[in-house]
């Protein structure tokens, strides 16, 4: 019974998202929105690890997403399609089903490596330092890509649509939604495991009192770098998915506006709440889409709604609580290993 909750939840959401798309009940537009929701969930959950659980303040998540987006789309386009940037395809189109997930993974790894370069100097000190550095990262990323003419520079980069079409031609299946779904599940799975394990929970201790953590044998610097890399790696994978979903990317897609969106979703959901992040990513994406008829006024209406929400619920939808704390009856299906262990020892 105890292990039953999570698989059931995953199965149900699989049925809701993928099966109708596969059978063609969902239009392309709805499929696009579902993919976007998934991508936003990954981004929000991963940024919550840094801003929520660890209590640092990163404002450059879009740049890491962009590194993943460019890496993976360069890879797939270079290997699989004939295009104006690199010329003829190197591998046959049929391999796209295999290459696509690998390229997402490589995109994630690239973002993680990039984040390591940022993390090493940034985590020497605590406080606003990381915020300033990550703000600069946005600009570093945008300017660097704009100055590499071989991949389109400021004009952007495209061709990912052909890769997605190639996969669809081979086997008719909503591949993008499928992979998004898998990576969403993967992200939530590893972040949940991490923040519940004694090792990962130490990042909450760092947020609470860094000096006390250090003196209680927690290797704070290593842990902060690891958590940062983990978070940015996931953002990189989300970036790869995003690039293949929108099929056209340019440096401004991954600039401060996108970083701000992710931040807003994290704060909307609640700092240090995974279920809050998921809920807010879903709501915020749908909200943005529903306000699309307002055109430019969207950028007035959305912040207004946010201001109202913050006035009445300054801690975000969930605060630092999880859905389980709100519905304690569900705990027997979803409780973490550590909670179960504690309760078992209390009883005995």
């Amino acid at each position: 019974m105890k292990r039953f909750g999570m698989p059931a939840l995953i199965g149900i959401s699989f049925l809701i998202c993928i099966v109708p798309s596969w059978l063609g009940w969902f239009s392309n537009y709805i499929q696009f929105i579902i993919t976007l929701i998934g991508i936003n969930i990954i981004l929000t959950v991963s940024l919550n690890l840094i801003n929520g659980y660890m209590g640092e303040f990163s404002v450059g998540h879009a740049a890491f997403m962009g590194v993943g987006a460019y890496t993976s789309s360069l890879l797939t386009v270079y290997l699989l399609t004939e295009n104006p940037f690199f010329g003829k395809a190197i591998l046959p189109e049929e391999l796209s089903i295999l290459i696509f997930p690998i390229s997402l993974l490589i995109g994630g790894v690239a973002a993680a490596i990039f984040s390591l370069l940022i993390a090493i100097p940034s985590f020497r000190t605590r406080g606003d330092y990381l915020a300033i550095v990550t703000l600069a990262v946005n600009f570093i990323f945008k300017s660097s890509i704009e100055n590499i003419d071989a991949i389109g520079g400021p004009r952007g980069f495209m061709g990912m649509g052909k890769v997605v079409k190639a996969m669809d031609n081979l086997v008719s299946f909503p591949w993008l939604i499928f992979w998004t779904f898998l990576i969403v599940v993967f992200s939530i799975f590893i972040i949940r495991n991490f923040v519940n394990s004694t090792m990962g929970k130490s990042i909450i201790a760092i947020r609470d009192d860094e000096i006390a953590s250090e003196l209680m044998t927690v290797n704070t610097r290593w842990l902060k770098i690891v958590a940062f890399m983990l978070s940015c790696g996931l953002a990189g994978m989300a970036g790869g998915l995003h690039a293949h979903t929108v099929t056209f990317i340019n440096p401004s897609s991954y600039f401060i506006l996108q970083s701000t969106y992710i931040l807003v979703m994290v704060y909307l959901g609640g700092m240090g709440s995974l279920s809050g992040s998921v809920i807010s990513a879903v709501l915020f994406t749908i909200l943005l889409e529903m306000l699309r008829p307002l055109d430019v006024w969207r950028w007035v209406a959305t912040p207004l709604l946010l201001i109202i929400l913050m006035l009445f619920r300054p801690t975000g939808i969930m605060g630092s609580r999880e859905l389980l704390d709100v519905f304690p009856k569900l705990k027997k299906y979803f409780s973490s290993l550590q909670e179960r262990l504690t309760n078992a020892f209390i009883k005995s």
Binding site: V218, N219, T342
Partner: protein
């Protein structure tokens, strides 16, 4: 061989010499006190030993390890537990999590185990929880395991903090003003607790305290610090009668 040997320790805060030529040898299972007026540099000595500050001169050797230049988490992993003047429990984590996290250096599983929920993680978490619960049981803290520390009474918080400091199986326990803010009844309990901890866990206790009742009652040896340097050293009785100590605390008589 002494457990902890501090030799000619000197430390500057800018131009201020906060610790001046501090020497100390602690042997196993001793209970030594460090007293002095406010601002004498007592907590600085603790922070130097724990590696929070880097001394300008001098050496610190613990159990044969040179401590200078190591990170605080490495130093405490060698077996130094400490508590803080103002209680520094992690208030957003439950009591049991406070104890589990102090196991950080003793966790055997790797990062990937914690991400992918492997069998090794489950085994290790079980071991860590078991040890933490055993320790809490010894301190009669089991009823509070799922509470947040900030919701607990002050005396209990102190007990939890001492309990947490024992998680890393220390051979040296540094207590920084454990009686601060306690009433007389709680102080009496604390005195018994410190004695019990020393015997039960076979630790050397090095204690900073302002409450003379605590110091005179439990310490075998006392050092008195004033303006960063040792002005007196000896048994509680010798310290009580030492004119230099009386002068440092009360000032000189006007004639």
């Amino acid at each position: 061989m002494p457990l902890l040997k501090v030799d000619k320790l000197t430390h500057y805060f800018g131009g201020l010499r906060s610790v001046d030529n501090f020497n100390l040898e602690l042997s196993e299972n001793e209970l030594v006190g460090l007293i002095g007026p406010n601002g004498a540099g007592k907590s600085t000595v603790f922070n130097l030993v724990c590696g929070l500050y880097r001394p300008s001169e001098g050496s610190i050797t613990f159990n044969g390890h040179n401590l200078i230049g190591r990170y605080p988490h490495q130093i405490t992993s060698l077996g130094i537990g400490r508590t803080f003047q103002n209680i520094r429990l992690w208030n957003e984590l439950s009591v049991i999590d406070n104890l589990r996290i102090a196991h950080f250096s003793q966790i055997d599983y790797k990062l990937l185990d914690s991400l992918f929920f492997t069998g090794r993680l489950v085994r290790d978490e079980q071991k860590v929880t078991q040890e933490a619960m055993d320790l809490l049981d010894k301190f009669n803290l089991v009823p509070y395991v799922n509470e947040l520390p900030r919701n607990l009474p002050y005396g209990i918080q102190r007990r939890v903090e001492i309990c947490r400091a024992l998680v890393m199986k220390p051979s040296l326990l540094l207590l920084d003003e454990p009686a601060a803010g306690m009433n007389q009844g709680e102080i009496g309990e604390l005195i018994n607790l410190v004695r019990w901890v020393k015997d039960e866990f076979k630790v050397t206790v090095w204690i900073i305290e302002h409450q003379m009742r605590v110091i005179m009652n439990i310490c075998e040896r006392i050092q008195v610090l004033d303006f960063g340097s040792i002005i007196a050293e000896g048994t509680p009785k010798e310290i009580r009668d030492n004119p230099l100590v009386i002068k440092a605390y009360l000032g000189e008589e006007v004639t």
